[in-house]
Structure formats: structure tokens, C-alpha cells
């Protein structure tokens, strides 16, 4: 885990909800974390929904569209890719995406968005 020395520990794996989202606060920015056990992965994107204008994406339903993992905004139901943050209904919109790793039971995040 040397390369991840500057990564921020966020929480324990038990703080995540399998198949759903929670939110973390990282350097003042709200980050939505989605734990998909079937991918054995945690995805991290902006919690701010630019269309609804509220901090709610961690409270959306996750799933897949054509095999790409997505979250649906709980406000107006647009889909955002968990992989690259793009809005499937509107090419012009792209959210920040962060890298997350699991180190034993600790959830670590690279604080610089990709």
C-alpha cells in the first residue's frame, strides 16, 4: 500500500451499505460512495446532483445500464455512470470520480479526482 500513502482513510467497510450508497465528507467536498459486492468494489462520485441542485446522489438507486454501473438521481432520475461520472441523459454533464480501495476493512480514497 506504499503507493497509496497519500490516500485518505474514510471509514470502515461496515459503514458502507451493500448495493446502495452513503456519503463522506472529504476536504469539504461531499463524495457519494457505492459499495457493489458483486464487483467487489467501491465507487466514488460527486454527491452533488447538478441537475436537481442538491447534495443527494448517495441516496439514489444503483444498478447497471448495458453493464455499466450507474446511480439514478433520487430527484429527477437521471443516470450517472459510476465509472466516469458522465450523465447518460446529457452528454454535457460529467461529475468528478475518485479512486477508492479497500485495505482490509478500511475504505481508502485518493483525494485527487480522476
Amino acid at each position: 500500500m506504499n503507493t497509496k500513502s497519500n490516500w485518505t482513510p474514510l471509514c470502515g467497510i461496515n459503514d458502507l451499505v451493500a448495493g446502495s450508497g452513503v456519503c463522506a465528507l472529504v476536504e469539504g467536498r461531499q463524495v457519494a460512495l457505492f459499495y457493489l459486492p458483486e464487483d467487489d468494489r467501491v465507487y466514488a462520485i460527486d454527491n452533488h446532483d447538478p441537475i436537481g441542485g442538491a447534495n443527494v446522489l448517495s441516496r439514489g438507486i444503483v444498478g447497471s445500464i448495458a453493464d455499466e454501473p450507474v446511480v439514478a438521481s433520487p430527484l429527477y432520475k437521471q443516470h450517472f455512470s459510476l465509472v466516469d461520472g458522465r450523465c447518460l441523459e446529457d452528454d454535457g454533464i460529467r461529475l468528478s470520480v475518485w479512486q477508492v480501495a479497500l485495505d482490509d476493512d478500511v475504505v481508502l480514497m485518493d483525494p485527487t479526482p480522476r
Partner: protein
């Protein structure tokens, strides 16, 4: 080979389309392209400009991307305006002193908002609506004002009015003409639109000629009108039409129209054969086109001409359909019946605010024009009749008259449309192009959209596109899918059956056995609801929690700012003074906005995620239960006061309402379910507008089924009369379970029954005569749900794991700082975007 030196002046929507078409032609390497872009950013979507106020950023609206332009090999001079064209030396000069030689020029300079030159028009806080910078100025100005006036009641004016209203200003529209949208609508249509808009809180003043603008007494300005009246306002937004930006062309001595506009021919060439003009700056056959679609067509013609191909601009259809402040408005062709010999049919429904008019030719066989206000559902069909000269049905008025049972509206079979029929005008996609896309392998609407761009502009053609695609698929023998989504090849009804028969208890199990992928926001809540209807397990139990819509996850309704509302059950609308006091105390303690709902209970708004458990703990301690206002489930049973107090009442409607609400509370269904009980035929509980309505008679109870209010109100049908209580309950048990078993996702009982073959009579057979032999089973299933009821909030408060979800952050003890309230009428409300940026909102202190 020497490249042609091409200069594009203006990088608006049409200029962008020109570049895109050129790049997509694959021939752009033949040109050395430079773009003068006066604005500080590349082209953006002006058509959706107003969404900037709804939270979209400049980035969201952007059409041109610097990287994309670079890849295409186009050079852009940002923030640089072309100020002179020397046609002799073939050189363009900019305001920064750049001099560039050219072979060809494309002018796409657009237009500017016209500001009537009344004295005072240039005062501070007098603004226009065209660019992102204009919007920023409006936002800043609105933050300090209370009222706003839009001068001009046309298309753009009304859109601007909505923006002002959304910014929290008390908004007025001042129009010179005697009606709104004078170009597109007639008097009757204008009046219906006006009534609707005034209902939405915007005041309309027509026939007003502004004479001067001076200092106001109670506001920044006072507008004085020719009729002696005046209006005070803090902000004035001019939206009185557009004027082509032809100044550059004028100084270069190109031919200009009498009232402005750069004259072009069918090739989009100006009077100088080296110079094209396209978009809103161009004047074709004496007309300026103030819409984006004709500009796009011109851009494509200009590209074709540059490449030496054959193509002509031959005018454009100016029919429009839009939603103005939520009101549908559409205008097609010769809406004012100017054609000689033409005749009109009109339909006016003042109660619902709907106006429709069609104009037909002398023979009555062809549609020339139409106006639709309040309900524009027929737009797509009417437009196709008009554009393609399709012969009208025998009674043309049948196209706009409402259908009430009996005769169905003569549908325009999409098969009647010729190949050349334009389905999407924004992107000029014909029916032929759609068929082509399908032949190339597209197998659904999404695929055709991606391939042709149809329905990705204003979206007005989406319904028609779906019809055409489905029709074409069917005619090719492709079964049109009724699967609920890509993860399950089943309908809701089939899924329900699978769950019941295989005794499936979780989503994962069903997905594993019958589906694929991860699921999505369509199938997950649907299956969550089916599982709840069948087995009634706690919805926040681990395997179910990820299936729920946000409202069910947090057992509260999400509001626009991400806070939630709290609605405790008040069965039958009956509440003790002590309980009312508790509601008041809790609302006060947590500073919640408090409102009486339309369902006879009290709604407390503005609760943060982390406050929900604290609030509910107090409510549960005082004996309240969850009201399921968040679920697709039984909501309320409304009651009137009934025979206990009312001198006309013939039975105890309140008592029955309470019993019924307690019997079915918590039941989840394909959609929400509402009930009401009235104590006599005066019907004060409005039972005939509910899914289940009950009215007391001298001899028992009359049962009405399948009504609703909402978007498409429908009266309930009388199902059975003079029932005793026991029979009544049995029928309702069977009815509800049969609906849950066979209804489609998000289908209310009214639509469900209308789709049942045999309708009401069939329903009577199933429920009363037990024709399917299902009666006992349905009753037993209902009994199981009733027997396993528990209050979800009580259960949640006892479960530390479930409570963890109500932390706003997993790693910090903080609150969402984007939740900001301001006070209005002595209570909180969410701050508007403008108030947040202006920072004048006072954050309300949290009480915990």
C-alpha cells in the same frame, strides 16, 4: 494543394452546427478554418438557457468543446470580435487588431435583443436575456429586488418571466399587443394562456405602451404607460423581439433588408459570392427565422455549397410546441386562418383551461394550421397532417374534441405518413431516416435516437418517434418488448407471479433465477414493492434496502433541497387536541415548515436526514405511526364528519374510515391507493374521486372503485350498492389484491381497469361472482398482510443498524451546508439558488 482560407464569424448555435457539419463531412482538411468568437466562451445551448437558473452551469450548456475544435483542426479566437471586412483585399480585421486574409466567409452573427428606445430604458437594473452574462446580471440584480417586470409577452418574454419568478421575484409581464404571444396565438388562445399564467402568480398587463421609466417611490423604477397607469418594479427585463446583427455586413456594403437582416439566396450566399450568412442574422425571402432549426438547415446548406455539392435552403416550418411555465402551447402553420377560403374549428374548455383550434382549407380536406393551449398532446399528429397534406377525416373537429367513452379519436396511423415526413424538426429527421436506422440494426427507440439524433433537441417529437419506431418494428415482425427493463424479460404481472409461485423472498434470488445484470431504478423498486405486497417484510431489512426509492429508504419524502418531510398517520383525519399539540411542539422544536395536506393530515417539511430519527422518536412516543406518505402504498382514508354530528348523515363515516385505514395501512401496491368515506350523498369526503370510495345510504354502503384526482382525473364507477359492512370489506380485500396481482408498474387503479378486457363488468364477475375462483386466495393473502403490519418507523428506531443510514456523512459529524432556509410568512422555506449565491439567506440554526 492550397487550402481554402475560411473564416467563420460568430460561434453561436448555428456557427457551431456549421463547424460540426463541416467536420462530419470528412472534408474539413480542404479548409484552413478560423473562428471569431465574440463571447468569452465557445458556443452554448441558448435554447436551454433558462436552465442556467435551474442549476445548470455554463459547462452543462456548452456545445463547443475546445479539445473537440482542436481535434477538428479549427482555430478559434475567443473573446475577439470581427469589426471590418475589406472585400477588395479579402481581409477581416478584429477589435484586437488581428488581420486575416480569406477566400470565403461565413457570417453567423445571430441577433440581439431589441430594447424599445423609451426614455429611461438604459437605467441600472434594466436588462436583456440572451447570453450567459445577461443571466448573471439578472441573478445579481434579482438578489436585491422584490419585483420584476418583463417587457414583451412573446415566447421569450414568458420564458424570462418564469426565470424571474423562480428567482423569487413577484413577476409581471407587460405586453404592447392586446394578447400574449400575438404571433402564434389568437385572442381566445391568448386569453386561456393568460389565465393559466396568472394562476401561477405572474401578473399580465396587455395593451400597455410604456412611455417612460423613472425613479419609483417604493421600488427602483416606475414604468409609466400611455393610458396613464403606472407600475413600480425593481428590475426590468426587455424581451421585445430580436434584431439581426448585420452591422458588420452593413459596413462591408453587403445587401441588407429594409428592416435589417443580411439578404441571402437559396444557397445561403449574400450579395458577395464569397460570403455566406446563416442563422438569425440572415434574411431569406424577406424573413428572419428566430428558431434554431432553420439555422441548422442553413448551416448544412452552406457546408454542402462549400464542398461543391447540391443543396438548397427552401424555407422552414415555424410550427412550435413548448411548455411555458408548465403550460403546453403549440402553434402550427397558418394559425390565424389567413389563407383565403379557409375555415376554423375551435374548442374551448374554460374549466380546465384548454383551447384548441384547427384551420382547414376550403375543401375541408387539408389541415392548414392549428393552435393548442393547455393541452398540446395532439401536436405531433396535427403537424403531420399539415406538413404532409394527409387527407383529414370526415369530421375534422374529431381531431380536437375530447373523447368521452364512445368514439375513439381517429388516430393518424403512422403508416399513413410518407417516407419524407419530417418526424423531428430540430434535427431534420424524416420517417425514411428512421426506417433506415432500423434497417441498419437499431431495435429500440434509444438506438434510433442515438443513430439519428431524433428527439434529442427540444424533445417535442418523442411521442411520435416512439410510435413510428414501434410501428416499424412491428411491421418487420419484431416483437416490441414489454419487458420492464433490460434486466428482466418479464412484465410486472409475470414477475409477481414468479415471486408468488417460486416463493421468492429477495431481489438477488429473483435476479439470479430469472434476470441478469445488476438491476436498475426501474426493476429494483418494482420488485421491492412486489416482495412487500407478497411477504410484507420490513423494507429496510438488509436484502431489501437497496431496492427502495429514496423516499422508502428514509421513510420520508425527499424535497427539492434534499431535506425530507414528515407525515404521521391521522386515520380518517380524526385527531385529538393532545396529539395536535404534540405535532405543533415537535414542529416548533425542530423548526419545521408546517402545512395541512390535501389528505386531511399534517405535513412537517424541512427535516434534515439526521433529524428524522429524533423527530420520529418523539412522534412514536406520543402514539403516532408512520403515514406512508413516501410509499407506493395505502395513503389516507378521507372522511366527512358523518352521522355522529352532521344533521344529514345516515351512517358513521368517520368510524368506518378509521377502521378501513387501520386495516389496510402499510399495504404496498403498483401505485398509491387513496380512499374516502362520505356519510351521505352530499359527498363531502369526495369519495368518488378515490381508488376506493364509500358512501353511506339508508340501507348500507355504496362502493365506488377506480377513481382518482391528479394528472388525469377520473370519477370512480359505482361498483355495488347497499352493502353491509362485512361484504363491503370482503369486496375491498379482493379488489385490492387483484389489482396488486395484475396491475402494471406505476399504474393507478383507473388505468388498470380501463385496460382490463371487459372493464367494470369483468371486475364485478371476478370480485362479486368469483368467476376465477380466486376469492378465498385473495382474501387470505390480504389477511396475511394485515396480520404482519408493523409501523416502519417504530421498527427502525429500534434497529441501530438501520439508524446508521441517517448519518449525513460516514466520516464526519457535520450537516449538509447546501441546505439553507429563509423565512417567509413566519416559517422556513428553502432558499432559492439566487438567494444562496447572494448569501442574503440567513442560515437557520439547527436545533437537535
Amino acid at each position: 494543394m492550397n487550402k481554402t482560407k475560411l473564416i467563420l464569424i460568430g460561434n453561436g448555435m448555428v456557427g457551431h452546427q456549421f463547424l460540426q457539419s463541416l467536420a462530419e463531412s470528412g472534408e474539413s482538411a480542404r479548409f484552413d478554418v478560423t473562428v471569431f468568437c465574440e463571447e468569452p466562451r465557445l458556443a452554448y445551448d441558448r435554447v436551454h438557457l433558462s436552465e442556467y437558473f435551474a442549476g445548470k452551469s455554463a459547462g452543462d450548456l456548452a456545445m463547443g468543446q475546445p479539445a473537440q475544435y482542436a481535434e477538428w483542426g479549427f482555430r478559434v479566437l475567443l473573446n475577439e470580435k470581427a469589426v471590418a471586412i475589406d472585400r477588395e483585399r479579402q481581409v477581416v480585421t478584429s477589435d484586437k487588431g488581428t488581420e486575416l486574409p480569406y477566400d470565403r466567409i461565413v457570417l453567423a452573427t445571430g441577433s440581439y435583443p431589441f430594447v424599445p428606445p423609451v426614455p429611461g430604458h438604459d437605467r441600472e437594473h434594466c436588462l436583456v436575456y440572451r447570453t450567459i452574462e445577461d443571466l448573471e446580471a439578472i441573478k445579481a440584480s434579482a438578489a436585491n429586488g422584490k419585483t420584476g417586470v418583463v417587457v414583451g409577452g412573446g415566447l421569450l418574454g414568458l420564458e424570462a418571466a418564469k426565470a424571474l419568478r423562480d428567482l423569487g421575484l413577484q413577476t409581471h409581464v407587460v405586453e404592447f399587443a392586446p394578447r400574449l404571444m400575438a404571433v402564434q396565438l389568437d385572442d381566445a388562445g391568448g386569453k386561456v394562456l393568460r389565465d393559466k399564467i396568472e394562476e401561477l402568480g405572474v401578473q399580465v398587463h396587455t395593451g400597455k405602451n410604456t412611455q417612460q421609466i423613472v425613479d419609483g417611490e417604493n421600488a427602483v423604477h416606475r414604468m409609466e404607460f400611455a393610458d396613464g397607469e403606472s407600475l413600480e418594479t425593481d428590475l426590468i427585463l426587455f424581451s421585445a423581439g430580436i434584431r439581426p446583427r448585420d452591422e458588420l455586413a452593413r459596413s462591408a456594403k453587403l445587401e441588407i433588408g429594409e428592416r435589417g437582416g443580411i439578404v441571402i439566396d437559396n444557397d445561403c450566399l449574400t450579395s458577395d459570392k464569397n460570403i455566406f450568412a446563416i442563422g438569425e442574422c440572415a434574411l431569406w425571402c424577406g424573413r428572419i427565422f428566430g428558431l434554431v432549426a432553420p439555422g441548422y438547415s442553413m448551416a448544412k446548406v452552406a457546408v454542402a455549397k462549400l464542398l461543391g455539392e447540391d443543396s438548397q435552403f427552401l424555407g422552414a416550418d415555424m410550427s412550435t410546441k413548448l411548455k411555458l411555465m408548465g403550460v403546453d402551447v403549440a402553434s402550427i402553420g397558418d394559425a390565424h386562418a389567413h389563407t383565403t377560403g379557409s375555415r376554423s374549428y375551435t374548442y374551448l374548455d374554460e374549466a380546465c383551461g384548454v383551447y384548441k383550434k384547427i384551420v382547414v382549407n376550403e375543401s375541408g380536406k387539408q389541415l392548414l394550421g392549428a393552435i393548442l393551449v393547455g393541452d398540446a398532446e395532439d401536436y405531433g399528429t396535427l403537424l403531420q397532417y399539415a406538413l404532409n397534406g394527409i387527407e383529414l377525416p370526415e369530421f375534422p373537429d374529431s381531431l380536437i374534441l375530447p373523447q368521452r367513452g364512445g368514439d375513439a379519436k381517429p388516430g393518424l396511423g403512422v403508416s399513413a405518413l410518407p417516407e419524407s415526413a419530417q418526424i423531428c424538426s430540430c434535427h431534420d429527421v424524416s420517417k425514411g431516416a428512421i426506417c433506415q436506422a432500423i434497417d441498419n440494426g437499431c431495435s429500440d427507440v434509444a438506438g434510433v435516437k442515438g443513430e439519428t439524433r431524433a428527439a434529442t433537441g427540444c424533445g417535442g417529437c418523442a411521442a411520435l418517434l416512439t410510435n413510428v419506431v414501434n410501428h416499424e418494428l412491428e411491421s418487420r415482425g419484431v416483437a416490441v418488448s414489454t419487458d420492464i427493463c433490460e434486466h428482466f424479460p418479464y412484465t410486472r404481472q409475470e414477475l409477481y407471479h414468479l415471486v408468488r409461485v417460486d416463493q421468492i423472498k429477495s431481489f438477488d434470488e429473483l435476479l439470479h433465477k430469472h434476470g441478469k445484470g445488476k438491476g436498475c431504478d426501474i426493476c429494483k423498486p418494482t420488485i421491492g414493492s412486489i416482495l412487500a405486497s407478497c411477504w410484507n417484510e420490513y423494507v429496510l431489512k438488509k436484502p431489501h434496502v437497496g431496492l427502495q426509492d429514496t423516499n422508502d429508504t428514509y421513510l420520508a419524502n425527499m424535497q427539492k433541497d434534499g431535506t425530507y418531510s414528515v407525515v404521521p398517520r391521522v386515520a380518517g383525519g380524526e385527531i385529538t387536541p393532545d396529539k395536535l399539540i404534540v405535532l405543533g411542539q415537535v414542529a416548533k422544536k425542530y423548526n419545521l415548515y408546517t402545512k395541512i395536506t390535501g389528505g386531511q393530515r399534517v405535513d412537517l417539511f424541512g427535516a434534515r436526514l439526521e433529524q428524522l430519527p429524533l423527530i420520529w422518536q418523539e412522534l412514536v412516543d406520543a402514539g403516532f405511526e408512520t403515514g406512508h406518505a413516501y410509499g407506493k402504498s395505502v395513503r389516507t382514508v378521507k372522511s366527512c364528519v358523518g352521522s355522529t354530528w352532521c344533521r344529514y348523515g345516515v351512517d358513521d363515516s368517520v368510524g368506518l374510515a378509521i377502521d378501513i385505514e387501520n386495516r389496510y395501512k402499510g399495504l404496498r401496491a403498483p401505485h398509491k391507493l387513496k380512499f374516502a368515506v362520505s356519510g351521505c350523498t352530499r359527498e363531502c369526503a369526495e369519495a368518488q374521486s378515490k381508488d376506493v370510495g364509500i358512501i353511506a345510504t339508508e340501507n348500507g354502503w355504496n362502493l365506488y372503485l377506480c377513481g382518482n384526482g391528479g394528472m388525469k382525473p377520473r370519477h370512480a364507477d359505482l361498483f355495488a350498492t347497499d352493502l353491509d359492512r362485512e361484504t363491503l370489506i370482503r369486496y375491498i380485500d379482493r379488489f385490492l389484491m387483484f389489482y396488486i396481482k395484475t396491475g402494471d408498474r406505476l399504474q393507478r387503479t383507473s388505468v388498470w381497469m380501463d385496460n382490463l378486457e371487459g372493464g367494470l363488468d369483468y371486475l364485478r364477475e371476478v370480485i362479486i361472482e368469483d368467476s376465477l375462483g380466486l376469492g378465498d386466495e385473495l382474501e387470505a393473502q390480504m389477511q396475511q398482510i394485515i396480520g404482519t403490519y408493523e409501523c416502519e418507523w417504530k421498527k427502525t428506531l429500534e434497529d441501530p443498524e438501520a439508524l446508521k443510514r441517517f448519518r449525513p456523512f460516514v466520516n464526519a459529524d457535520a450537516s449538509d451546508d447546501n441546505v439553507v432556509f429563509v423565512m417567509e410568512r413566519d416559517q422556513i422555506r428553502p432558499a432559492t439558488a439566487a438567494e444562496k449565491t447572494a448569501d442574503k439567506a440567513e442560515p437557520i440554526k439547527l436545533v437537535s
